[in-house]
Subunit: 470 residues, 2 copies
Amino acid sequence: MDGNQFEMTLAKSTFNKLKNIVGKSNCSMAKEDLACYAYDANVKGQLPEAVVFPGTKDEIAQILKLANVEHFSVIPRGSGTGMTGGSIPLNGGVVVVMSRFNRILNIDKDNLVAFVEPGVITGRFQEVVERQGLFYPPDPSSADYCTLGGNLAECSGGPRAVKYGVTRDYVLGVEVVLATGEIIRAGVQTMKGVVGYDLTRLLIGSEGTLGIITSITLKLLPLPEAVKTMTAVFNKIETAAQTVSEIIRCRIIPRTIEYMDNASIRCAESYLNAGLPTDAEAILLIEVDGSKIEIDDTVKHLRIICLESGAASFTVAESEDEAADLWKARKAISPSLFTYGPDKINEDIVVPRNKIPDVVKKIDALRLETGLQIVSFGHAGDGNIHFNIMLDKKNKDDLKKAQIAVESLFEFTVELGGTISGEHGIGTAKAPFMSKELGQNELDLMKRIKNLFDPNGILNPGKIFPVETT
Amino acid sequence: MDGNQFEMTLAKSTFNKLKNIVGKSNCSMAKEDLACYAYDANVKGQLPEAVVFPGTKDEIAQILKLANVEHFSVIPRGSGTGMTGGSIPLNGGVVVVMSRFNRILNIDKDNLVAFVEPGVITGRFQEVVERQGLFYPPDPSSADYCTLGGNLAECSGGPRAVKYGVTRDYVLGVEVVLATGEIIRAGVQTMKGVVGYDLTRLLIGSEGTLGIITSITLKLLPLPEAVKTMTAVFNKIETAAQTVSEIIRCRIIPRTIEYMDNASIRCAESYLNAGLPTDAEAILLIEVDGSKIEIDDTVKHLRIICLESGAASFTVAESEDEAADLWKARKAISPSLFTYGPDKINEDIVVPRNKIPDVVKKIDALRLETGLQIVSFGHAGDGNIHFNIMLDKKNKDDLKKAQIAVESLFEFTVELGGTISGEHGIGTAKAPFMSKELGQNELDLMKRIKNLFDPNGILNPGKIFPVETT
């Protein structure tokens, strides 16, 4: 995994070989094409040397075999909506875009199983299965753009993970081209299966460093009969945080408990004019699902818990449109943050749910210490808080302060029994912080697994593990 | 992983070193002690050379380090209730019994998380959490005896997997002593976490071949408010199988849909006198849970589906005692089977749920072909059928016929898109059949992972992968 072993300029002869593999119209070395593949949703990378759009697993196998022989790096990419740099080139290399793997192969209603290609857009897949009365719960905020393959690579979560778990919990099996070019099928098509090691879940969340996913078998659920969306508004942020714990303590698992702090509320409101209470210190956006008869009862119970815990108000959305507007506001936070500054340092921590009040206090302290705008929101129901420091990175002083704040929050998170990445992966952005959470034994073992799968270090180098300079 | 590299007699000096590690009262080389550790619930192994009962992870690390230096094999063991030989010695070696790791360390009601040691009995853990209004769904039939560590090693399932998934779905993190003696912590204590490769799930289902689990962090759920248990009786076995598909097609996911064929029913009845209809071709034992208000509605719906699909009768248990009696009958099948013959070949296949009628027909055909008693029952709701051939293994003709029938059923299962092991693991019993389901690439990769974790092949040799004779 020595990043320096790669030539920074792909030989013309190598590109010709790639062209022979994928076809002339499915590859490019033109700067204007390459420019599109140097970024993800949060991290700036470098220009790749070439981009290819393979159409079959065999083409991918040939590309990877060639990469091992001619020593270029290969960077797999879905829609590039990741937040930690998992899909960006670091030192040239060839970006493999999976957009042609965009077919929903089969939705098996008898068995509640779907067979899909990795380039299928998550939101489109959700729509298609919901039209058939079925349900695919994982819902990353980027669902309208991101791909299922990318979701697997990062083990994406989203608001509904509180009740339904994350991407990992819905993958029964995968077909993968390993870094060496070998093709394997891992997992099963059935609800259970324990034949040998769990390669499926080893590949999920491996951020394209072990193999390239070419086919996915997903578990589906019946679509819940009814959904209710509600908001609880709080004058004190600590009260909101404590209410999350109280809901869980009362053994209610809503399908989402989203949290927005005052800065998030103002941001979303200025963007959307949705009528959010901009003077509130926090809002919880709660959603429950189930049978019609059951959720009315749950909503009653939630109203009592929220008001008794100190909510200033509790409102249930009257219609699907009203609920959709609330979600629009929630999803507007991330893009609207740039009103606070041209740059964003976006983190994604998780703590045990009853530690959210501690995190809220810590973030307040960091806001005071740094003098920077810090916005926090996220999936409070599972303890997953997105923490955003807004700044101008050209201001080196502010950048330094922000970096110190991030490090301090990570250390605090780990002390609380939490993790430094809930659903955004490690990529390049968090690679320097791996040792805050993992010990040397764990890191060494992971590196040895990486070397076992990818002995020449050609696949997505520099991700998860920082590139070591020799 | 060459089984022949191990001395069949543990040197006295090695035993003395083991004694120094675990203490005199926690180890033995006495034949009468060793005899207890040569079996699991289904497979006869050989006598180990020694048995040790370590009390700390550091003792386990020392044992494994010693094994690597002095070349003896180490066989980890919970309660030995496995069905495929995962915990039995094959060529001597030292059995490491985890019974002293029997503490429930903490049940965190605020966060719905439990911290336990691997030697805790699953059923005891379930009782303790249920008394606190919480719920640990995985429920292998051996729950009264098996350990949570063993459940992780095999990725146990059970009836409730239909709705709630298997052991894998409830493990947030583990502490493990690797085969080399290194100690690692994998996973998290939180609901989400994606820091590096998913070592937790690589270890789950690895049948004690990669490391020895010393601590477990489990996710809990709120205990469902109410449970209803019901039976549907069928005069035609195909109708019962089709009804399972119909329930799923109607998008109802009960927490269990257990299936018993006529031979199972008669067996359980002769054992228990529970009043089961011994002339029925099949019974489905269905259980639903949720809020009180919701499940009454679901039961009504299930009654309509079952009767319209052709059930001869549909009965809801009137009381908890009545429901408990039904489960007692279901759980009696496995031990009562020996009325049909002194030996049992027990298999555990899974097919897509709508293929259960095909499996039922295939089993009928095999019954005719072999002339042997074949009993099938299991977790029809997730397509998981336990298939038992009863025979006297001393009758070589019958044994041969049974082996051919098993092989034929495995091939048929894989053709249907199924798997040859749903929840029993591979152990030694299914190791010869791995290539029926996996290709050479997958098998090679798994072996390379085994070698990475256990370069000297000291940990549970001969499991999953047959011992290669050189």
